[in-house]
Symmetry: C4
Subunit: 193 residues, 4 copies
């Protein structure tokens, strides 16, 4: 099976998630001065954060499938599973943003990110199982260090959220920055071959 | 006519249905503890179920059109007819989920699934009529056993919903599991040719 | 310029219009019997009508661009103009459906259909101007009889809406049926060449 | 890396922004005469303006990527940055439209347009850095006069909004008209090569 439709469908779902999220910021009806915008500051920041996170996943998804040659049923379902958890990001961000990073909402946010990271990891495994250990995508991915370390970071952040909201939040930002750096490994190795 | 735009349009419509459905889960405003999340449990489960059902249809649509060579006006309209019934799934799921699987909502849910199954069957017929009995897609599809048995199951479930909500619900889950198993027939036969 | 992105963008916009429209049918909160569904009957029928209309435009758009070889700036803007009027269909349908085909809402509905028909006509002209009178698309389109007669029908329907809602509504249905018949001319002539 | 998915994802996001914006015009519930439509006139005009602006960006994006051969991580992120600011256009337009072009909403509208213009400029730079000064896209773009002059215009309009709403609004319209003229430079130069 060719990968074209899986990419097109994923693009559609991720485009809707990332856009709807920003459009949910509602026009204030109270006034036309800066005071009317101030209550939106928290919501705006949390949407910027989620925009970056969803952008990161789209970017990595794009890099990953550059090296994929063909797909099968397992890859289709592993991809749908990833899209499901990504579609939970707006809910988790909204709850966390509205409640100023209270412990449970912050932990739920981390849980959704953790499930998305695990889903991405499963997707990578499904692709490697279909292409073999000596394939172009296996060579390009290497040890998948980022994928593994993200899961470890989120597992640490979950209990931390109930102790210090800053520590847990800091870990989320750290993971975002780590992923924000584009995966030059794949670009480089694809360029070589 | 090439099949590219039919696939792209279907991907767009299905991506919107599956994503909007999940985004309809609203952030709770009452608190930041587990009690605030509890009322969402029922809605969440019903959306997971619908996510799986829409995912199944996208998956089968993808498998089916792998083997399709060209489309005509009948196939375009049979496909739009399928998309129409799929777009009714969120409404039916929402009504059933909010009313804890009451008889009429559960029967309506089954009715929408029945109409989607019939629409899929009509789509398969339109494709076979255009490609001929000896075509690659006819060979790949075989007897279309799953399509026929689904219609039979739903016809049984409709009156059952008014007698036992568990029996009808169980049939829906059964059909979902049956379809969840990827259609390896098509994959296998395409691989051969 | 290639036509690929114009088709993809149009597919996206039309997919959103057709899907959002159906999703706007809200779950009833009053009960779980047939009486709870009855108030939705009018809204449901009007959405079915709009689904068919938008489906017709997508179908014709698809047929039309099959025969198009390349696009320019005028075609891009003529296409955006068509998409703008199509995006007004949900508003007009909603107003007409909620008010049981009252004169002004019914006339507004006809006005939006008229503007969409004119926009489609302008798009066809822009394509012919870019391809020339002897091109494949010019041969395939022939005299564009349907496009011209639709505009005439809508111009008749507008004043009629203030006299008899049945007459105006009948004209809308007539035009829909006329377009529902797939444009076999293009299919046939493309098959020949 | 090929540019296909970047184009598809951008098409998806821009299609959602442009469509959702128009669909936000709500059906009036007060009556079925012209008086019921009158309050919508302001909102309708502001949505038409935004439809044109988003249409311009899609058009220019399309023209720009016609000449692009390949993309890298920087281009992906520069593109996501542009999409982020475009996704703020509906919010800014809504606030400005509802408040009859009051100073602060009008300045915020200009600010969002300014950020989108800067984001487009950064995207062009990222593309040129990846393709080199002698590439086809560099030749096609020329001096990028429109991109630079837009930024200057918006910088003038921002303080003007607090002095005269007509002057600032006039500048926005002026920039829109300037961009509305299709970028024939790229079309012409691509046609030559």
């Amino acid at each position: 099976m060719s990968k074209g439709r899986l990419e097109a469908f994923s693009d559609g779902v991720i485009a809707i998630i990332i856009t709807i999220m920003v459009l949910e910021m509602k026009v204030p009806h109270g006034g036309v001065d800066l005071a009317a915008l101030r209550p939106l500051a928290g919501v705006f920041s949390s949407y910027v954060l989620s925009f970056v996170f969803i952008g990161i996943y789209w970017n990595n998804h794009h890099h990953l499938f550059q090296a994929v040659d063909r797909v099968n049923g397992s890859i289709l379902w592993a991809n749908l599973h990833l899209l499901f958890w990504l579609s939970q990001v707006p809910f988790a961000t909204g709850w966390m943003g509205e409640n100023h990073f209270a412990p449970l909402p912050e932990a739920l946010y981390g849980f959704v990110l953790l499930m998305a990271a695990i889903a991405y990891y499963i997707l990578v495994r499904a692709i490697l199982a279909h292409h073999g250990r000596d394939s172009r995508v296996a060579t390009a991915l290497g040890s998948d260090f980022k994928g593994k370390i993200s899961v470890v970071f989120y597992l640490f952040a979950l209990p931390l959220a109930f102790m210090s909201r800053w520590a847990a939040g800091g870990i989320y930002v750290l993971v975002a920055i780590m992923w924000l750096i584009p995966d030059r490994r794949i670009e480089r190795r694809l360029a070589k071959s």
